[in-house]
């Protein structure tokens, strides 16, 4: 045990040295920020590890049984809403996203949408669950205001537990303060 502790100590020292040199010591690969249309977290039928690349507009089979994307691909294909720090109000730039999904849901009453609220990494984990829930609820209310039935919507908060982008800076944080919209079967 003592020997492996020494080994770990040397690895720890090496990592520290590498960190000083490289400034970027993480062993695990950093996930790329999802660009529009590819590997959007939460896109698809909610399965963990859903790794499909989906071009904008061609959403066959990913919106729930028996549906095609309603209307133009654009706003409906966007299924992440981003938030400002410590805020859960939906910014005007997402109004069309809300409308598109509201239209999709009211047109296809069999569809169900899960709203997953997330926060950035700052603050305490359990309080962040509350903030994530606020964001999911904001989207839920916005959709209901546009006629979506309560029964079609569920919310879940992941707080800070499922960051889309890793990093201790605003660039990463901005991509994690989000509500993901996930159609479920």
């Amino acid at each position: 045990m003592g020997r492996s502790m020494t080994k770990m100590l040397s690895i720890g020292c090496l990592c520290a040295a590498a960190a000083l040199l490289a400034g970027c010591p993480k062993k695990a690969t950093t996930v790329e920020p999802p660009s529009a249309g590819t590997q959007i977290p939460g896109f698809g039928a909610g399965g963990a590890g859903s790794a499909g690349t989906t071009a904008l507009g061609s959403n066959t089979g990913t919106m729930g049984a028996g549906s095609q994307g309603a209307g133009a691909g654009g706003a409906l294909a966007r299924n992440v809403i981003y938030f400002d720090f410590d805020k859960s109000d939906i910014k005007p730039e997402y109004a069309d996203v809300i409308s598109a999904h509201a239209r999709n849901l009211t047109t296809h009453p069999n569809l169900k949408l899960k709203l997953e609220g997330n926060t950035d990494q700052r603050g305490t984990r359990e309080y962040n669950i509350g903030l994530g829930e606020r964001r999911a609820q904001a989207v839920r209310r916005a959709l209901m205001l546009q006629g979506v039935a309560e029964s079609q919507l569920t919310t879940v908060s992941f707080g800070a537990e499922r960051p889309a982008v890793e990093g201790d800076d605003e660039a990463a944080w901005a991509k994690n303060r989000r509500a993901d919209m996930v159609y479920t079967p």
Partner: protein
Amino acid sequence: MNKALCSVAVLGLSLFCSRSWGEFVVEVTRGQDDAIPIAIVPFSPPDTDAGSFDVARVVADDLARSGRFKAMDRKDMIEQPHNGAGIGFDDWRRLGNDYILVGLMVPQGQDRYNISFELFNVLNRQRLLSYQISANRTGLRLASHQIADMVFDKILGIRGAFATRIAYISVVGSLPNRTYRLIVADADGENPHIVIQSNEPLMSPAWSPDGQTLAYVSFEDRLPSIYVQVLKTGERRRVSARAGVNQAPAWSPDGRKLALTLSTRDGNLDVYVLDPATQALTRITDDPGIDTEPQWSKDGQNLYFTSDRAGGPQIYRIGIQPGDHPRRLTFQGNYNARPRLSPDESQLAFVTQEDGAYRIAVMDLKGRGEVQVLTKGRFDVSPSFAPNGAMIIYASRDRGRGVLALVSADGRVQERLVASEGEVQEPAWSPF
């Protein structure tokens, strides 16, 4: 107290039997200036074989890690006595030691050892401890921690917490392929065992008062539920899977109830008390803000919790009897959250925001509520007291990684525990 955890494969989650994983590196970042110098002489048996366990090393590391002791470097030991008769006190005093611990490990048969040890005050040559422990090979590490406890207690008059455990969450990988593990290890980070592993988040480990069971939040099926799991057997039971939020479990002092956070359909988070056996539920807070992170008082009559009913999160206390109104406890700054009571209730640890940084602070509950900020990081969260109240373990970030760190309750000692793999977060220190 050997933690043999048995394995059951359930629902794509995995529970492992005694599988060692990863290790910690301890970095002391700030020691105590007046640390007591002590010589801990190797206990090696007369016929030292290369594979024998180094009891004295574990004892020395424990005492040094407390920040209160400075262990003499072995290289400087000109002789290595194994009992009092062999100690040349003047020499040890000249080398600057206030205390000396000597001992001997004598094998007894295949797998057993008799460890005898003595603790002396070097200055007045008084023998403070004389003791024997018998242990088999797998029990040597625990025996070493127990020896460190005895030395710590004898010299400082404080019960040692070296033979305790920590639970924490380890996260490896990036979305969508993250692996979350709830791990229990010795308090020094050695001997880690996976309690449960999942592809979805695990959170908020909470030790039952008897140290036998952990409650935690699991996002299996992408929905949060609260589970309780018996560590010895791996047997787990889901105790709350209500629609919406099921979070922040906290055991009552008698181990019979759980305080927790649930949500209404409209996403209003509040604190409740659940009897897991009967599923009887009592609502404790009823307020549109986020009310969460409950913690029980020692008498089981009050709950400390976080609420943002006043704007930003602050810490409140409420009696669990119906009709009691919450009393706000924190008034400095806009963010005070996640209360944790010290075992003797003299201090309340919590997370405070100071100049944009999240830090661990303690409030003096016996005096005038004075607040002291203990840490200096940017993202210090999740404080948990050791059961002797002397140290607080918490989560921090270092060079882009989640790490665990330790700070003494008075802020004078600071250490970092860096895992060999991935991120670590949400530590919880076991009871005695």
